[in-house]
Symmetry: C2
Subunit: 376 residues, 2 copies
Amino acid sequence: MTLHWKLTTTDGAARAGTLMTAHGEVPTPVFMPVGTAGTVKAMTADAVRSTGARMVLGNTYHLMLRPGAERVARLGGLHRMMDWHGPILTDSGGFQVMSLNDLRKMDADGVTFRSHVDGSYHRLTPERSVEIQRLLGADVTMCFDECTPFPATPDQAAESMRLSMRWAARSREAFVPREGHGLFGIVQGSIYDELRAESAAALTSIGFEGYAVGGLAVGEGQAEMLRVLDVTLPLLPAAAPRYLMGVGTPSDLIGAVRRGIDMFDCVIPTRSGRTGRAYTSRGVLNMRNARHAEDPSALDPECDCPTCRRHSRAYLHHLFKAEEMLGPILLTWHNLRYYQSVMERLRGAIVEGRFEAEAAAIEAGWAEGEAERKAA
Amino acid sequence: MTLHWKLTTTDGAARAGTLMTAHGEVPTPVFMPVGTAGTVKAMTADAVRSTGARMVLGNTYHLMLRPGAERVARLGGLHRMMDWHGPILTDSGGFQVMSLNDLRKMDADGVTFRSHVDGSYHRLTPERSVEIQRLLGADVTMCFDECTPFPATPDQAAESMRLSMRWAARSREAFVPREGHGLFGIVQGSIYDELRAESAAALTSIGFEGYAVGGLAVGEGQAEMLRVLDVTLPLLPAAAPRYLMGVGTPSDLIGAVRRGIDMFDCVIPTRSGRTGRAYTSRGVLNMRNARHAEDPSALDPECDCPTCRRHSRAYLHHLFKAEEMLGPILLTWHNLRYYQSVMERLRGAIVEGRFEAEAAAIEAGWAEGEAERKAA
């Protein structure tokens, strides 16, 4: 009556494995596209599948406000509603309550806030967050926590982390075990090693099906983020999956996989795709840039997505200049495919014991592309 | 060195045929989705193909301003740029010059106007319009004409129509014959029978590969539009395809096919799809309406599109309320599929000699749906 993760191979600290959920198996490391309000923005579910994505994230905060968790449940759950038949991880709502709400009131029991949609009042507690995630039908449920703001003093970070640990225990109590479904704890503690250690100890003593590292990618910078992973990951059970929340760029993914992270989610590929930024095997390109206006070449000649196989950079440039929806559609599609292809390359390399060589090859492609663009 | 259309069957005045172009054959009657600026809005080319669409329309006015006809030609033409490998019909630019430009100056030779994109000055003449359409790679080129405003006095309509007829002769001169490519003349004359007859006579004496009826669906109403078709179509060569420009609702399509129209284009299915209006076998639904919020049923149970096969009305309602791009994507997809399915049903019925029965069945479905919604 739980969620299993099977370790296949390690290569240094990097891990290849398989997450076994009620909605199928997912090879890890895995990148989960973000389906905020029941849709990965600008993509049909078929399109998301075609990028190689095997698991997506849904946002408790957005879905509880609209269309509402009980309504989603009446409609057969989130999988059915959005036509996504693979596993879904839902966040707890805590992060968005903090980041999207000016009018919130926190107490030891939970948070009261006003909807950004219609101004109505809502309350989230560990128990309600876990209930909402069950109503949505999440394969992986996240503990309700407070994402500690950055920067925070050691005292602030400690107080916030300890609140999250009490809420983690309540989330564990509230979670109804079901086969193929699991609850993940979230390590907090900001950039303070002792607090991260205290948080990891608190969570492992409660016991979760997986462990997330939260409170990162909030302004501390990549070096500090990776340092926190160096300190934190050895303190987590080797037999459980590890999830780095809200991260990141392809470079972040490599650094985190290298240290033993198995799961990621991030809006970067989708959000960037909507604004014209493309992540490619030759680095980052902005399709709004006039240099692409007459360029008949593919966005990324190494990519097998429909955008790269069928269209020119000039066409993508045109679509963004003309503000056609197809621009965001095609670029989101590409970015998601590129992210999946990076994860596939990293996983394959871990299995074959050549992670560092593959990571170096990927990074060399970005550097070469950057150098070519500067020289042009 | 021309464009061929083959008549298969008639059923009353309704005709089933095949248009043979440089980019393949198209069964007629055909509805062409509008790909204004090199994209059928909100749809990938694959998605457009999957609706059953065989031919699309491109807009000379939009494409000449952005990305520019010469640029499209350098990029391999419009087919390649937008990944559409079936035939493309381009309009002449005349209609948009009139409808989108306040700062235009017309003379006997052509029109000078300012770009709505960047304020730059441009000029369209019959010769330049035909040249642009060749640069775009159009399978069907339209004569440059003035779409007579509605209402117009008989004198205004006559003057405007006669200008268009002189421009039609110049368009014919400018057109370079190529196998599988053709030039269509456009009958004008507003709602005046004698002017329509004069225009039809002028065009048939020049000779075109097809004949369009222009200047309709501009405010005259369906009954008047169909009356003009009744008067005009018998004056056009039976052996050439007939195209009703910019029309219309599904009801308009039935009325026009009944009278012998073979080709249509219209923004209604795409534009309506973006604003939440769905055309279905049970009439028109607005997905923003709260009545759909909890409705688990398919948008159109009779439809085989991905939207109807995989999603609920409640989900579509949610997507439009949340202003998610997937709402316009899914509804455009459905509307285009619905339009194609109507055309397929009408064509099949013509071939089997039961056009009127099929038209009545389609219309009965709309009426029944409307009655059910009023009763609910």
